[in-house]
């Protein structure tokens, strides 16, 4: 669609924050309109990467699960990891990718808790890989205007 979404949002956010907000009498309304503008800027940033970051992360998690499964001592967890590692995206709609991502991240929590209780060097290697992925996942979600 033209104009591009990011251009539309730039104009809309600028109108809300720079033109509309200062004309409002109520401080509360003024603050809310400004917040709406800031939210739109965050929407702009997230819209552009919404599918890409989820696909990238889901693939990274499946690779991690494939690497971790042989180290896992609990058969039921190993089976879940094997099944998840063999999965693919059934749909590229953001809502579908998000559902898949939530399932994979839930499994990541279970895997992390499990390997923390193992003593083998291979478990430490998987644990380090999990922390790397946690850092990467946090960077994927980073918003420019976040405070830290």
């Amino acid at each position: 669609m033209k104009p591009d979404i990011d251009r539309f949002i730039d104009v809309a956010a600028s109108y809300l924050m720079a033109q509309l907000a200062p004309t409002l009498v109520s401080q509360y309304d003024q603050s809310n309109v400004t917040i709406l503008g800031v939210l739109l800027m965050a929407v702009r940033e997230e819209f552009e990467r919404a599918a890409a970051r989820r696909i990238e992360e889901n693939q990274a998690l499946r690779r991690l699960f494939a690497e971790a499964a042989p180290v896992v001592q609990a058969p039921a967890l190993r089976q879940r990891l094997d099944e998840a590692a063999a999965g693919t995206e059934a749909s590229l709609l953001v809502a579908d990718l998000e559902r898949g991502n939530a399932a994979l991240r839930g499994l990541l929590i279970d895997l992390h808790a499990h390997v923390e209780g193992l003593t083998a060097p291979a478990a430490r290697r998987i644990e380090a890989a999990i922390w790397q992925e946690l850092v990467a996942s946090t960077e994927r979600r980073r918003l420019m205007m976040g405070p830290f």
Partner: protein, 348 residues
């Protein structure tokens, strides 16, 4: 479902309530009622109360804090009101609390009324800009001295035993961690692998018992106090999460990287962290043992995430459509994960 009062309806009901509380007053009027930003757990309104008493015309700017249908944090209004009452007139500047009303029939929800401390700024992002920024050292001295005074205060002498739930020095950390883990369990809309890892770390590395049981403000940070252009702090606000506990909880919360409004290493956008700790130690007479403070700093991100995910759930469920909930949830959840990763040494 309560039909929401209009502002004029709210003003009329508020005037009726105040007539009830001031039976000798004549000509009670509520004017200029408007909603303002003031904490995410209660609706905050400012208004001017005017009346005649014994032939004298009186007028006073006041604040109404009313429970909303949903909020960032579930809190007890009585505890917040009593915290204001306890510290009013002390070395910890707070507005004068006037009336607490638990009966919802007056304004549809419980509420309390307190003095409005007028003419000062609260915005956390402005304190790091001119004309305030040049007073960063003075702000820091006041901010962490006041927090030290809160830590030093005797909860029994303040009349807060019985108002706030008691806790043993070696149980503070467990109670707080359990509370916020439960909030995340109940309210998370998506798995939180970073915070779950932090929670397990906290359980594996318990802190030493609290040096003393203090009043914990629990949201003591830049943004929750009123300041002026000369580096002075005039009121500490938003006591909605106040409780008894380890005073290091308060110190660590204010040091959390998500409050670094200047986007540099300075705590609260004001001074280096070591300097903030030194001021607090001097004022409180307590010591911020590094290992214990580190535990509470990691915990502060778990608590932060508990607040943000709860806000996200309230907004998503439609219980509270305040846009600040959406904004804080979006902006803060990722920053909070980054903060805890940095504190655990995984992010530089």
């Amino acid at each position: 479902m309560v039909e929401e009062l209009t502002v004029s309806g709210l003003a009329a009901n508020l005037a009726a309530y105040i007539r009830h509380r001031l039976p000798d007053a004549e000509g009670v009027e509520v004017t200029g009622l408007e909603r303002i930003f003031g904490g995410a757990s209660r609706e905050t309104y400012r208004f001017v109360l005017s009346y005649h008493l014994n032939g004298q015309a009186l007028s006073r700017p006041l604040i109404l804090r009313r429970d909303p249908p949903g909020s960032l944090i579930e809190t007890q209004r009585a505890v917040e009101f009593e915290a204001y009452r306890a510290f009013y007139g002390s070395a910890v500047p707070v507005p004068e609390p006037l009336w607490l009303e638990e009966d919802a029939h007056w304004l549809d929800y419980p509420f309390f009324i307190m003095q409005e401390v007028q003419g000062f700024e609260a915005n956390p992002q402005l304190i790091v800009l001119p004309p305030y920024a040049e007073h960063a050292q003075r702000f820091a001295e006041r901010k962490w001295t006041i927090l030290g005074e809160i830590a030093k205060a005797d909860p029994a002498a303040l009349g807060l035993i019985g108002v706030m739930e008691p806790v043993a020095p070696d149980q503070c950390w467990q109670r707080e961690l359990a509370h916020w883990e439960k909030a995340i369990d109940q309210d998370e809309l998506a798995p939180q692998p970073v915070i779950r890892a932090a929670i397990r770390w906290l359980r594996r590395h318990p802190p030493p018992p609290a040096q003393k049981i203090s009043v914990v403000h629990a949201d003591f940070r830049t943004g929750n106090f009123l300041y002026d252009t000369e580096g002075r702090i005039h009121a500490i606000l938003d006591w909605e999460m106040a409780h008894l506990g380890d005073p290091l909880e308060d110190l660590a919360w204010g040091l959390n990287p998500v409050w670094r409004w200047a986007h540099d290493e300075r705590a609260g956008g004001l001074v280096p962290q070591d300097e903030a700790i030194r001021i607090w130690e001097r004022a409180s007479g307590l010591r911020a043992v590094p290992e214990a403070l580190h535990w509470w700093e990691v915990f502060s991100s778990v608590k932060g995430q508990g607040i943000w995910v709860s806000g996200a759930k309230e907004f998503t469920d439609g219980k509270n459509q305040d846009l600040i909930l959406a904004l804080s949830s979006w902006l803060m959840q990722n920053s909070q994960d980054r903060a805890v990763l940095a504190k655990l040494g995984y992010l530089s």
